[in-house]
């Protein structure tokens, strides 16, 4: 127990260090970008409008003051950490004065919902099929399934998504091709809205599953292929243990350990958003928000989103490190 506590303390220290480094990198990268949020705002405000050069100079000065960008980089750095500590990233610069947190919380449920469902389906299906294919390697149906799954894996995601759009949005138009729910529908936990959300998520989820399944399938099949030749599996077979029990308790359980790690990383990565998916399917998540923030040079929003992502991934890794010893007794705590 004492060694487990020391192990946890060490892992927690690493968690804090990783977050500190990650946040600093995020700060440096966003401030090193050549995009100036003030110039972006001026360009947006004056595009197609008649504005004199003197007015532009005055506008530039006012915006710097309004956005709090007048101080030096050190002042901004200190301000950034003050905000991180209280989990307030201030107002978005490209949607001023709306707080960054409001924008993130508005988009986050959509991304989390979409990616949680698609990750869960992909993980369960990929591991199940991969495990079966690795153990029952002579089964023709599983081999065909494997070929199909592996066939989709290398196709660029955009192509698969576009294919789905054309097939189910145009040729056989049975599914909506854009947005998170039907336009003008009252939001809430009512049947119609939930059905609409599910309906709008079918194509994005399907595209993610089709492309993502191959990775889990391949990983699990390789792991199982190795495990089936391990001594303890061979002994179990020679000892007449039922095949289903060998598969469930001896093979799958051991093979799942690295897959669970991968799952934790994937779940942490949910907070990065699914940029291409959200762009292609017009899904209202944080991936699209991030792209927009980067293009607008919106430091505050980029830092807010990056921080959420860093915390989520680091926390996922910490969590799995904490659970590892419980899942796999071979893990040494010392």
């Amino acid at each position: 127990m004492k060694s487990y506590a020391a192990y946890l303390l060490r892992r927690f220290g690493q968690f804090v260090l990783v977050m500190f480094i990650g946040m600093n990198v995020a700060f440096v990268v966003t401030h090193a970008t050549p995009i100036d949020p003030v110039e972006q705002s001026i360009a947006a405000a004056t595009s197609f409008g008649s504005t004199s050069p003197e007015a532009i100079a005055m506008m530039r000065e006012s915006l710097r003051e309004l956005y709090g960008l007048q101080g030096g980089i050190w002042e901004q750095y200190v301000g950034f950490w003050k905000r991180v500590v209280v989990l307030d990233f201030g107002p978005s610069l490209s949607a001023f004065p709306t707080p960054v947190s409001t924008l993130i919380w508005r988009a986050l449920p959509w991304t989390v919902g979409l990616l949680l469902v698609s990750t869960a389906i992909t993980w369960v299906l990929g591991n199940l099929l991969g495990g079966l294919a690795g153990y029952l390697h002579n089964n023709r149906t599983l081999n065909v399934t494997g070929l199909l799954v592996m066939g989709f894996h290398p196709i660029p995601y955009y192509i698969v998504a576009l294919l789905l759009l054309i097939v189910f949005g145009y040729v056989w138009p049975v599914l909506p091709i854009t947005g998170g729910a039907q336009m003008n529908m009252a939001r809430g936990w009512n049947f119609d809205f939930v059905v609409s959300v599910v309906k709008h998520s079918v194509l994005p989820v399907l595209s993610l599953v089709m492309v993502g399944l191959g990775g889990w399938f391949m990983g699990m099949r390789s792991l199982v292929s190795n495990i089936v030749s391990e001594d303890y599996v061979v002994y179990a077979e020679l000892g007449g243990v039922a095949k289903s029990r060998i598969l469930r308790s001896y093979v799958m359980r051991n093979a799942l350990v690295p897959q669970v790690t991968g799952l934790a990383m994937s779940l942490g990565g949910i907070f990065n958003g699914a940029i291409i998916t959200e762009q292609v399917f017009g899904y209202p998540g944080i991936g699209a928000l991030m792209i927009d923030a980067v293009h607008a040079g919106d430091y505050s929003l980029v830092l807010g989103l990056t921080s959420v992502s860093i915390v989520a991934v680091s926390a996922a890794v910490l969590l799995i490190d904490m659970l590892y010893p419980l899942l796999d007794p071979r893990v040494k705590l010392a």
């Binding site: 110039e39 004199s52 100079a57 005055m58 949607a95 001023f96 049975v174 091709i177 947005g179 017009g282």
Partner: protein
């Protein structure tokens, strides 16, 4: 196993069919499709969707219907012919009235115009709008108001008088919509709202014929509804708006826009690729562009050009700039960029709106006689038949899609351009001290002549393709030319002068009105920034010319409608041809595609050029009264 798989697939298909149903009828909840016009919002997703305070800089959406349907101001100038002429007195009942030295502007207001909450619009709103901008830093129009306005008074509820700090014959431009302008604020709402920078103005109180019905908190769509009292708005002079509802939606990437219109889920595509347009023209009989035939696109009153950084040591000499212009084959650029669907221009004015009548046609004879001295001989570089040549080049493959009359060809493809002349280009470069060593041109100080053309990449593929073609043509001549992609950073690089040449536009005009001050005033050398310092819009080429300064200074002293303004505009054109600070290429063509399934009466180039169909323009409010439901 096979039968299980087969059954599963069949079940999935059945579920999809039941689940999806005829989803095209279910596009919008609680709003009849037949009464709704669905328009692409080119701003995409509005991340701050619940923000309708358009006076705060860059805080929310603008082209989401807000400035097309809900806001209003004194005057509108149409980029095309206009619904009742180019100029429209909107909230004003007459044109701006200036005193003799342009230090005072009086505005007479229209009576009987009401905000959507039933309060009458009066000069008190004008005063409030202007004074709020005078007293608040950082609002969208604070700076131009604070620079120009000394005071404002309202002698009666329908008159506003502006006293200006200095003479300004174009002050009214601030309140004149070309694409947008300074919109009027509702005094009775904002005076109770506190800090105008932090007030979301949700729901917005409207001066237009529509008011907000609903919007997506995630910014994907906005639905506007015709006001019951639409007769108490400025648009009512032209009749009742057709659509009861107007939805502005984020339609996604170009492929999805095409699919959505093929499914009749998107009545107006703001812009698609040339290829997308050609597909629609071929396959979707209900879809059409500004031109019913090739080149389909609406030529916006902006001029795409190869803009040189005139502060670059190598490009300061106009001989070098002219040499580079003479190496461009515009036919190849037109094919590479727009697949031939481009409206070319040899002069620094876009070939759209009233400009062909005021500039391109009258200047044709001058262009034909214009000469360049290469140092060895004089050449006449203008070829008046290039537009026609492009049309003829396309005719074998597109047949009757290509217009046949010279006037229609000129309208669609433009008139003349510069003849490629590598020999003259070489002579000009040699006169500027450049030398060709082997296959490579060297600068006067013996280094390889290197030039980078900055392009936006995927963000603006048509212009990127144009830049690639120009770079290729320069490279074939022996110049070390290449493109550099500045996706997302173009604004910053352009403002900082961080480029040799850039594909962009520095010329934007009113379109329907010949006055060029919209962009030209900011080209005065008094505003040219030092190298490395941010350049205010729009003289991105950082061109300084004492002769141009004189033209601009005289324009400032003549009235907006004074015919002398056009003469001075032509003087600018001559100077720009002689100096070639940027190589004019073509109008920025926008492939707006309109679907006739639910609505008819869209504007078009031939029979109804009453406004710009490109739906992010404030002027597109006029479209609403022309659109009628398809019977």
């Amino acid at each position: 196993m096979r039968s299980i798989l087969k059954n599963a697939l069949l079940a999935a298909a059945a579920a999809l069919q039941m689940f999806g149903g005829a989803h095209s009828q279910e596009l919008i909840s609680n709003v009849p499709r037949k009464e709704t016009l669905i328009i692409e919002n080119p701003e995409g997703t509005i991340k701050n969707a619940g923000w309708f305070n358009i006076w705060a800089i860059n805080a929310g959406g603008q082209s989401n219907g807000l400035h097309q349907l809900a806001t209003d101001t004194f005057w509108y100038i149409d980029p095309n012919k206009g619904i009742d002429g180019v100029w429209d007195n909107s909230l004003a009942s007459d044109k701006p009235i200036y005193n003799a030295d342009f230090t005072e502007m009086t505005v007479k207001l229209r009576k009987g115009i009401f905000w959507s909450d039933g309060v009458e619009f009066t000069s008190a709103d004008v005063l409030y709008t202007v004074e709020t901008h005078m007293n608040t830093k950082g609002l969208r129009w604070s700076a131009p108001i604070q620079i120009n306005v000394a005071s404002i008074t309202a002698p009666d509820p329908y008159t506003a008088v502006f006293k200006l700090k200095k003479p300004n014959s174009r002050f009214h431009a601030l309140f004149t919509v070309r694409w947008n302008a300074m919109w009027m604020m509702p005094k009775h709402i904002f005076e109770k709202a506190g800090d105008p920078q932090k007030f979301a103005f949700n729901p917005p109180v409207s001066l237009g014929s529509y008011t907000l019905n609903s919007f997506d908190p995630n910014g994907k769509w906005f639905i506007w509804q015709k006001r019951e009292d639409w007769k108490r708005t400025t648009l009512a002079r032209f009749g009742e708006p057709g659509p009861k509802y107007v939805a502005y939606v984020d339609a996604g990437p170009p492929d999805k826009r095409v699919i959505a219109q093929m499914n009749h889920q998107l009545d107006i595509i703001h812009d698609t690729s040339p290829e997308g347009m050609f597909t629609m023209a071929k396959q979707a009989k209900f879809s059409h562009g500004w031109f019913n035939t090739f080149p389909y696109a609406h030529p916006d009153p902006t001029l795409a050009a190869v803009i040189f950084n005139n502060q670059n040591e190598l490009l300061k000499n106009r001989d070098v700039r002219w040499a580079l212009a003479l190496l461009v084959d515009i036919k190849a650029v037109s094919m590479a960029s727009y697949r031939g669907a481009a409206s070319i221009s040899a002069i620094g004015v876009p070939p759209t709106g009233s400009h062909p009548e005021n500039y391109h046609i009258p200047m044709e004879s001058w262009l034909k006689t214009f000469e360049i001295d290469t140092g060895k001989r004089k050449i006449k570089p203008y070829d008046p038949g290039v537009g026609k040549q492009i049309a003829e080049m396309l005719r074998p493959s597109l047949k009757d899609q290509i217009p046949s009359t010279p006037a229609d060809i000129a309208k669609g493809f433009g008139m003349g351009w510069w003849k490629p002349d590598p020999v003259a280009a070489a002579e000009l470069l040699e006169r500027a001290g450049f030398k060709k060593v082997g296959a490579q041109w060297m600068t006067p100080d013996g280094k390889p002549f290197t030039i980078k053309i900055t392009v936006e990449g995927e963000a603006r593929p048509v212009m990127t393709r144009a830049g690639s073609m120009v770079a290729q043509q320069w490279r074939q001549f022996g110049i070390d030319a290449a493109i550099t992609v500045a996706q997302g950073t173009l604004n910053d690089r352009r403002a900082a002068g961080d480029f040799d040449a850039i594909i962009s536009w520095s010329v934007e005009t009113w379109g329907g009105h010949p006055d060029l001050s919209f962009f030209l005033d900011s080209w005065h050398s008094q505003f040219v920034a030092a190298p490395g310092q941010p350049q205010p819009p729009r003289n991105w080429q950082r061109w300084s010319s004492p002769e141009l300064d004189k033209v601009i200074e005289e324009i400032r002293t003549v009235g907006f409608d004074d015919p002398r303004g056009v003469e001075l505009g032509r003087e600018y054109v001559k100077l720009a041809v002689r100096d070639m600070p940027s190589i004019p290429l073509m109008a920025y063509n926008v492939f707006t595609v309109m679907d006739d399934t639910y609505w008819t009466g869209y504007p078009n180039a031939v029979t109804a050029p009453y406004t710009d169909p490109v739906p992010n323009w404030g002027n597109t409010k006029y479209m609403m009264v022309k659109l009628k439901p398809k019977q």
